[in-house]
């Protein structure tokens, strides 16, 4: 009997040693590790079944509980939570049989409490505590935060006991030299530390999403001093920042994010969170700056292996923290947009905040990335990626991206490049355009074309892209002062746009002016349509003006103002045409009206290419005012 016990102890220790051996070599591939893990798991399990074949006996409890611990750790590391839980339950029942207590319940909480009470005085008290820590890990993995809170008392006792063992530790060390002590594959103390901080982080995220930001804050700040991996400490800082942001203290939040980044340079989500705060603060310069950093970081991240960004720890290598950080609200906090999305928002921000040339560079990078072969890895969802950093792709449709890039190029005074991009869009969409698009306004869903069914992109979207491309080309020719060509392209744009019909004609055009309460998507499309109309008419009008065809110019500009009353260029040029047609009073009224409009900076709510062109022939407002003064010398 004794020799059998010794044999089992020996077998356990050999397995544990075997497991530690390859772990020591960093070079092993994750695949190899996984198979190794699977193998050890089944071995431990086999051993355990052998041991549990004999009736429970306090004499070999230490061995049995150690093997249960090892097997369960292996199961948890493979995310086989149910199996691990079963093992723990069996073990607790057997412990109760050893101590002679009656389990008489199947409720795990009560069971655990009974077990803890009954083993307090026994020699294997510590081993039962190890198992409790595994139970804690399972609860955490399953996000049973309430259970953990209910068990808070026992858990803190556990923490105390195990950390109180520091003194015993050296004794343990010496004992480990004897072969008759069953070895554990991970240090339970490290595990408990890991669990502690992960619990605080998960709890923090959950409670934060429930709105208890101020309560959480102190916990998190306390947790930031706990001994743990830097990545986890960085998460505590990040969460504190999120709390502060929630409590409307953006500057302090920024400070926290900064600390998080300083703690762990891989904590990209802190960067992203600070971007969101800068956006909220409308500090576009800082936002662009941060986006730039985020972009460069995520660029390098692509090159690195996915596992290297993973917070890894030496002691608890087996159980990765990502196992315990599975809460939904946490992962939404930790999510970072994909590298391409970051690049896109960086480019867009630059363009919107008058850094056109830089924006153009970013746009070109983005397009190049899209065409390169390497981006398969971005398109495909990688399996190896742990779920902690879920990447969100918010990239717009490709034609829109092209058009934005085109608009940026035009702003950066590169009309030829812009035209190339636009013609690419046109050549792609042209032969697919239906004869007409009928918009059913009574329906809330947008762009229901009657005959043509395009999956994904409706005919309307295709129309809008093509029209916008023509509009941009018109702008380019205007920029190059090729008025005739400009008129041709604006006309093409207009011809396309008039093919969009409305079903409810009764309501007339007036009701279709977008208001804030209309459906976003429909309103968006409709708004774009209106703006395209307004801008193309305005552009053609301006071109006609340059060609001295005042009548056509006036007609187009007035059309434009009808569709898009807030068009500044159209307003000013309409006045100018009127002035040239010697309708000076009308001209003055027109100018006055235009000046009274609030000046609109470029916004993010509309695509760049449907906003007022920054180029083209300009009218000097001071000169116009001067003329008005001459008209009304009062």
């Amino acid at each position: 009997m004794l020799s059998l016990l010794d044999k089992w102890v020996q077998e356990n220790n050999e397995l544990a040693n075997n497991f530690k051996l390859p772990e020591a070599q960093e070079a092993t591939s994750p695949d190899q590790n996984r198979t190794n893990l699977r193998q050890s798991c089944s071995e431990f399990h086999k051993l355990l079944r052998k041991i549990q074949g004999i009736p429970p006996d306090a004499g070999h409890a230490e061995l049995e509980l150690s093997v249960v611990y090892n097997a369960s750790v292996c199961f948890i590391a493979q995310s086989q939570i149910v199996e691990a839980e079963l093992l723990l339950q069996q073990a607790t029942e057997r412990v109760l049989q050893m101590t002679g207590d009656d389990p008489d319940t199947s409720d795990p909480l009560v069971l655990w409490r009974t077990v803890l009470k009954s083993v307090r005085k026994t020699a294997f008290h510590h081993h039962v505590l190890y198992l409790l820590s595994l139970q804690w890990a399972i609860w955490l993995t399953n996000s049973y935060l309430k259970t953990i809170r209910d068990f808070q008392e026992e858990i803190s006792a556990l923490l105390e006991t195990l950390s109180g063992k520091v003194g015993d530790d050296c004794r343990n060390e010496t004992k480990a030299k004897f072969p008759d002590v069953p070895k554990l594959i991970t240090d339970p103390r490290r595990l408990v530390e890991l669990l502690q901080i992960c619990t605080i982080i998960t709890q923090g995220a959950e409670r934060l999403s429930e709105g208890w930001s101020s309560e959480v804050l102190s916990d998190l700040q306390a947790a930031s001093t706990l001994p743990a991996a830097r990545a986890l400490v960085a998460y505590t800082h990040l969460l504190s920042g999120a709390c502060l942001a929630h409590m409307n203290r953006p500057q302090m939040a920024l400070q926290c994010y900064k600390t998080a980044l300083e703690t762990d340079s891989h904590c990209v989500c802190a960067l992203y969170q600070s971007i969101l705060i800068y956006r909220q603060l409308k500090n576009s310069q800082a936002e662009i700056q941060t986006l730039r950093i985020l972009h460069s970081v995520s660029n390098t991240k692509i090159l690195l292996l996915p596992s290297s960004s993973e917070p890894a720890m030496a002691g608890t290598h087996l159980l990765s923290p990502s196992l315990f950080l599975r809460s939904q609200s946490l992962s939404s906090l930790l999510s970072v947009p994909s590298a391409l999305s970051v690049l896109h928002s960086l480019a867009l921000k630059c363009v919107l905040h008058s850094r056109a040339s830089e924006g153009v560079e970013h746009y070109l990078d983005l397009l190049a990335a899209l065409h390169s072969e390497d981006q398969h890895r971005i398109g495909a969802k990688t399996m190896t990626d742990t779920q902690v950093h879920a990447e969100v792709s918010t990239l717009p449709k490709l034609p829109r991206l092209y058009l934005e890039a085109g608009a940026a190029l035009l702003m950066a005074q590169r009309p030829a490049d812009c035209m190339a991009l636009c013609s690419e869009v046109i050549s792609t969409t042209q032969d697919l355009l239906p004869q007409k698009v009928v918009l059913d306004e009574s329906e809330t869903n947008a762009a229901a074309t009657e005959d043509v069914k395009e999956e994904g992109e409706g005919g309307l979207a295709m129309f809008l892209w093509t029209a916008a491309a023509y509009l941009l080309q018109g702008h380019c020719f205007t920029h190059m002062k090729d008025w005739k060509q400009a008129v041709t392209h604006y006309t093409r744009c207009i011809n396309l746009l008039v093919k969009v019909h409305y079903k409810n004609k009764v309501a007339g055009f007036q009701t279709q002016i977008p208001s804030a309460d209309t459906d976003v998507q429909q309103g968006g499309d409709f708004c774009i349509l209106q703006r395209l109309k307004g801008l193309s008419f305005a552009g053609r009008g301006i071109s006609f003006t340059q060609m001295d065809r005042m009548k056509e110019a006036l007609r187009d500009l007035q059309h434009s103002l009808q569709v898009l009353p807030e068009g500044v260029g159209a307003g000013l040029w309409c006045g100018e045409v009127l002035w040239r047609l010697s309708r000076r009073c009308d001209a003055a009224a027109c100018w006055e009206k235009t000046w009274s409009l609030p000046t609109q900076p470029l916004t993010e709510t509309l695509p760049v290419y449907v906003q007022e062109p920054q180029t083209g022939p300009l009218l000097d407002s001071t000169e116009l005012r001067h003329r008005l003064h001459e008209l009304h010398p009062v």
């Binding site: 695949d31 994909s338 890895r377 495909a380 032969d431 239906p434 004869q435 007409k436 992109e457």
Partner: protein, 842 residues
């Protein structure tokens, strides 16, 4: 008759395997890769017309693909293996200097694994990205791998994977089986515009079959504007559940989407130019399903009321099943297994009625009269306009199929005389081909019929022999054995020969595959002691035993001096499958090669009486000198061993008493012809006939082959030599058993057979034999009221008394410690006593 195609067989690879998928693919430099559905991949050089390399993989091969740097990627059950082809071919050439006919062989082991995934069914290389399609329990998995830069095979890095949930296939039942053998799936890649995306040096690969360039409009219509803008290659995969899915490779956030569902396993998909407007742009995507559904996907102008285009799906049906297919510029080739057919894809794609015309074209396939094609390669066009296809037939032959150039629009111009001659020749050869095929089929059918007939006989016979209960309780089975035992002398050694005769009295013929198996083993060690150590088995294969015929075999049952009688002879008929069907047929039934069925016939017994030789009373003329010598030697031996030189050995005896009434009733008929004195036999006659019956009649199916009447003229004693060499005297005499005490009634007349010999074993053996025979006699005796029960009862009482006494003596003797020799002697005494006072057999 437009022109016949010429077929040339290039190589043979044996029958196609069931587990993998047959494939033929063209590679670089006239290399052709062939998988026959087994574990092998063959590399065949089209220039040299010979097999250059054979690769042996660890599992059935599903797919293979050649990369641009001449690496061969092979998808197996257990993963994807990468082999450097150049190295292989180089090695093959190096070794082929002298022995050019032997291809290089290479066993592919796990060190060549580059992708460790189970059940990869299709492969595709797009640039440096390797795509694998595999089936999991719940979904289809399309996985992207990055090819490593260096050339040595290292594991490929996973880029990502796409899932498509499985649906239960909406196919007919009979195809489910076929789909079960790893659902055949296909992967191909559509490119936008003229050429594939600029990547390293993969043009050569990316322009041939699984890659094609679609006409831009069709591309945009099918795969969307975004894919077109990004110029992204689109992967198409056809699944066994009938779905044709696509995935734009270069788009962020793209998903695997279903393009069309064929509702039957997709066998082939490919693109055809149809009519050349832009060079290299395919205008038509053709998909073929297993049951013969063909879908042609083309871009079409929308109706006159609106501009724009739409994709038109023309569905049609050809008579299935379709084994494989291929398209070239304007034709779709497909094989139904029994014929290779071609469909001309319609050219005038402009008109409105195009759709109908397309269906029309689908209805009129042209037969090419090539049968058994299981896999096709991409057609190649020679300068002369001939189209060459490579096909792998069901029989494992690599065939080159050359189609003559089709002249369209030219009506039927008079061909030059040489061509006429050629076409006649082709025609004749085709007829010959068909004839050959037909005759081959005929012989196959004939042999199948024959086998069925024979199988019927076999089933009948086995039914007859295994049906043991009712019809033949006593009489013998219609097929059975009987034997004659006789002594013969060869090589100075006497042996007891057994001549077994198998009689077929059943109405069935025992045809091929039958074997008579005779097992001889001593009764004493039949089952419990010896594990066949002393049993001998004789097998006699035979052929065609018609009803009424007999088969005679003779076998040595035992040598002289072998005293382990009685012998049991088990006869059985064995039908072996390999003998019945022939080795080749059986080889097709794995697991049945060694199987045979055994049908037990009957069991014969050769006992002491059979084995003892009668010593002629008239003289010792039959006794040769050797016999005397032997006798002398044996007596010397006995003398030596005994030591004390006892001149007269002890005599043992045993006797059996049979009532003469019984004998008279049962033996009369038999001895009637022997003795014509009448039914009332005198007492010596009874004794005589009993001895005669004991010695010379057949017992237990075994007769003794003795010549002449060698019974003592008095007819009351026979001297015989037992097989162990001892002389035995059997004597019969009639006695009157009068019961001692009551004495009133008339005593019963009975015959006592007495066995006397100096050898105990001979006495025992013969006694046993005589008893056995009389037992059988009793079975034959008609039932009658036992008038003599009293006598019997008295006898029984006496016997019981004696038995009690003996038992008490026995237990007494055994309980008291005795030396072994004493025990033996004592036991012998008891035995003799038992034998000397026999019970009367009535």
């Amino acid at each position: 008759m437009e022109g016949r195609c010429s077929v040339e067989t290039w190589a043979e690879f044996g029958l196609l395997g069931k587990s993998g998928r047959p494939k033929v693919k063209r590679g670089f430099g006239a290399n052709i890769f062939i998988c026959t559905g087994c574990e092998e991949v063959y590399v065949f050089s089209a220039n040299e017309r010979k097999l250059t390399v054979v690769l042996q993989l660890p599992g059935p091969v599903n797919d293979l693909v050649e990369s641009h740097d001449k690496q061969l990627l092979v998808a197996c059950r257990c993963g994807v293996y990468c082999v450097d082809l150049q190295l292989l071919l180089h090695r093959a050439h190096g070794s082929s200097g002298d022995a050019s006919s032997i291809p290089a062989e290479l066993k592919i082991s796990s060190e060549f694994v580059v992708v460790d995934a189970d059940g990869v069914s299709s492969l595709l290389l797009v640039g440096s990205v390797l795509l694998t399609l595999s089936q999991t329990d719940t979904s289809w998995l399309l996985t992207l791998y990055k090819s490593p830069q260096q050339t040595q095979p290292t594991a490929y890095e996973v880029l990502g994977s796409f899932h498509l949930p499985q649906i239960s296939p909406v196919v007919h039942d009979d195809t489910k089986l076929k789909a079960g053998r790893t659902g055949r799936s296909i992967l191909l890649c559509a490119h936008f515009g003229n050429r594939p995306p600029p990547s390293s040096s993969c043009d050569a690969v990316d322009t041939s079959y699984p890659h094609f360039c679609l006409k831009p409009v069709l591309f945009k219509l099918l795969f969307g504007v975004e894919a077109a803008l990004a110029k992204s290659p689109v992967v198409l995969c056809g699944l066994p559940d009938g779905r044709l899915c696509f995935l734009p490779l270069g788009l962020p956030g793209s998903r695997l989407r279903v393009l069309h569902s064929l509702e039957q396993p997709v066998v082939f998909a490919g693109a055809s130019v149809v009519v050349e407007t832009d060079p290299g742009h395919a205008q038509c995507l053709a998909v073929v399903g297993e049951q013969g559904r063909v879908v042609l996907i083309k871009a079409d102008k929308a109706g006159p009321e609106r501009r724009g285009s739409l994709a038109r799906f023309t569905e049609g049906c050809v008579s299935g099943p379709v084994e494989c297919g291929f398209v070239d510029k304007n034709c779709l080739y497909y094989s139904t297994g029994s014929d290779l057919l071609t469909l001309t894809l319609s050219e005038e794609s402009a008109g409105r009625e195009d759709g109908e015309r397309g269906e029309e074209a689908l209805r009129s396939p042209t037969s090419l009269n090539v049968c058994g094609v299981a896999a096709l390669t991409e057609p190649t066009c020679s300068a002369a306009g001939d189209v060459q296809l490579l096909g792998l037939t069901v029989g494992g032959q690599l065939r080159s199929i050359r189609l003559p150039m089709r002249r369209r629009g030219e009506g039927s111009p008079r061909p030059p005389s040489s061509q006429v001659g050629r076409s006649v020749r082709d025609l004749l050869s085709a007829i010959g081909d068909v004839c050959e095929r037909a005759s081959a089929l005929k012989t196959v059918i004939k042999s199948k019929n024959q086998i069925l007939k024979q199988l019927n006989q076999v089933v009948n016979i086995s039914f007859l022999l295994t049906k043991t209960e009712e019809p033949f309780p006593f009489e013998e089975k219609p097929i059975g054995c009987h034997a004659t035992a006789s002594w013969s002398r060869s090589l100075q050694k006497d042996t007891l020969n057994l001549k077994c005769v198998l009689t077929n009295s059943s109405p069935y013929v025992l045809e091929r595959g039958w074997t008579l198996s005779v097992t001889v083993f001593p009764l004493s060690c039949s089952s419990s002691t010896g594990e066949g150590t002393s049993s001998t088995n004789f097998m006699f294969p035979f052929y065609n035993l018609r009803p009424g015929e007999t088969l005679e075999v003779s076998l040595p049952a035992a040598a002289a001096g072998d005293t382990s009688y009685p012998l049991t002879v088990n006869c059985s008929l064995i039908l072996s499958l390999s003998g019945f069907l022939g080795e080749e047929e059986v080889a097709r039934l794995p697991g049945w090669q060694k199987s045979c069925f055994s049908l037990p016939l009957n069991t014969l017994t050769v006992d002491w009486l059979h084995a003892s030789q009668v010593i002629s009373p008239t003289g010792s003329q039959s006794n040769k000198e050797t016999d005397t010598l032997q006798a002398f030697l044996s007596s010397r031996q006995i003398g030596c061993s005994k030591g004390d030189g006892a001149s007269k050995p002890e005599r043992y005896s045993a006797s059996v008493r049979v009532s003469s009434e019984l004998l008279r009733e049962t033996l009369t008929l038999k001895s009637f012809h022997l003795d014509t004195k009448g039914p009332e036999l005198a007492s010596p006659n009874i004794c005589f006939s009993l001895l005669d019956w004991l010695f010379f009649e057949a017992h237990g199916g075994v007769k003794v082959g003795r010549e002449g009447n060698e019974i003592d003229s008095s007819g009351l004693a026979i001297r015989a030599r037992a097989p162990n060499g001892a002389t035995v005297k059997l004597s019969a005499k009639q006695i009157n058993v009068a019961e001692e005490n009551p004495g009133k009634e008339e005593g019963l007349v009975c015959v006592e057979v007495r066995i006397e010999s100096s050898s105990v074993s001979a006495v025992c053996g013969l006694h046993h034999a005589v008893l056995r025979r009389i037992q059988s006699l009793l079975k034959k005796a008609p039932e009658k009221a036992a008038s003599t029960e009293k006598v019997q009862r008295l006898g029984l009482r006496g016997a019981l008394q004696q038995a009690e006494i003996q038992q008490s003596r026995l237990s007494e003797a055994l309980s008291v410690g005795m030396s072994s020799s004493q025990t033996n002697r004592f036991l012998l005494g008891v035995y003799q006593e038992l034998r000397a006072n026999p019970l009367l057999v009535i």
